[in-house]
Symmetry: C2
């Protein structure tokens, strides 16, 4: 038993999709979330910059006494080397490994598609993570740089013609390759999963990284006997590195009816 | 006569549209450009953050001995207060004032449209700048948050259906208001000026802020007798706060055949 909070971080607010899953899976847990909104997006930064930013995020969460670190940001998860994450004082979990495991479990044909930010796709991290688990897998990937700005601009309705047109362009090579499983390798993408599903067809299983990271995080806490024990809902403390106005505008998009808790701005650099 | 360099800065690489105009207008001038690509975009940041970043950019350019500062970033130009810019040790010029002056000169009906990033539009700076020059002007404005990611994703061809659809949506209220002049209040927008012009119609004059800032900068240097005097082309030194790879990918988009010069990465924070 351990009543310390779960720490979740992301370059922006997309990681709230992971928090939403945690709130559903384990409402008794305290959660500390850090969204580095002052420096979002990480996806277009260099490797050195991404690692520097990730370490500053992690140091902040450690200063809040978290018992586990969940990197809900695909870019960080793809970029932070094991030599760093293995040396952290609490268990660390990136979305990439847990998502890769879920995809391997879901596929029947071994043909798996991956979409994500340019940095996530360029890093090849899903390829490596899946290759360890299923060496025979055939992987098809494509970066989707416009999906995050489209979601953040609210172009998320199932019949939005702009997002649909961009999705058809981005997904065409994935679809042509005949995959049966598609990893939505960025926390923003599940918000437009209806559009992605319409383009890909109902026979393709979509894997939601936020959901998988939350499930893997709770499974790890259970294994280590570190789950919280309390009779009421846990506390939710959200931190951002830019103005909190933007958080409030997006909280409903990502958290829906589960929004609530304190929101504070911090200086991350 | 003053052979020190002209300093131009922007949150990212869009300010290169201003540099391109300077290279055409005054090839004998040395230019130092800073693109804060490690923290782009500024448009969605809070006022305090924008001012902090702008001052760090300015301090860097001053350390390079510039004789004039041109804020090619609409967000900075809209946000940095005169109390700060008036106290700088060299002349400072933001794109907003010079662009407003050009729009007032161009309009016949006094009905002027303004598009820009959410922060630029929210600041109301063009409204104030135009109101001083032409109190009877009717201003119609609309933020266009997707234009920058669309341009940076290369969706810039005149017949691109996605950018055209987004442009039609963003420009509809401006068009309905019957403006005869439209300020493209962000350095990225002139790259899709064909699309904007197709949507607005040939009778609407488009104002390009990078062009106006470059012209105003050279006019100011002439007035102060601070133009460079040399027989050959000046030196071009470009600095970015993230990897230089991204600069090279975008240099052609913004500078075209005028690309060339040194490119270095610096730590801005």
């Amino acid at each position: 038993m351990n009543n310390s909070p779960i720490g979740v971080f992301d370059s922006g607010l997309g990681g709230l999709t992971c928090v939403k899953q945690l709130l559903q899976l384990a409402p008794q847990e305290d959660i500390v979330y850090l969204g580095d909104t002052g420096r979002v997006p990480y996806g277009t930064r260099s490797t050195d910059t991404i690692i520097k930013y990730a370490m500053q995020d992690i140091e902040f969460l450690l200063s809040r006494g978290v018992k586990i670190l969940i990197a809900a940001c695909g870019t960080v998860s793809s970029t932070l080397p094991h030599s760093i994450s293995d040396a952290l004082p609490v268990p660390y979990l990136g979305v990439v490994e847990s998502t890769a495991a879920a995809a391997v479990k879901a596929t029947k044909t071994g043909r798996i598609g991956v979409i994500g930010t340019p940095a996530t796709i360029k890093s090849g991290s899903y390829l490596r993570a899946i290759d360890i688990l299923l060496p025979s897998a055939v992987l098809v990937k494509n970066p989707c740089p416009l999906f995050v700005p489209l979601v953040e601009s609210g172009y998320v309705q199932r019949d939005n013609p702009v997002t649909r047109m961009v999705a058809e362009e981005y997904l065409a090579p994935i679809k042509a390759a005949g995959v049966d499983t598609l990893i939505m390798g960025c926390t923003h993408y599940p918000i437009i999963k209806d559009i992605i599903s319409d383009v890909m067809g109902p026979e393709v299983t979509l894997i939601d990284p936020g959901k998988e990271a939350a499930a893997a995080g709770m499974a790890l806490l259970k294994k280590l006997d570190m789950e919280a024990l309390r009779d009421c809902s846990g506390a939710r403390n959200y931190f951002v590195s830019d103005g909190i106005e933007n958080f409030h505008q997006n909280a409903e998009l990502f958290l829906g009816s589960l929004a609530g808790g304190s929101v504070d701005q911090i200086a991350i650099d």
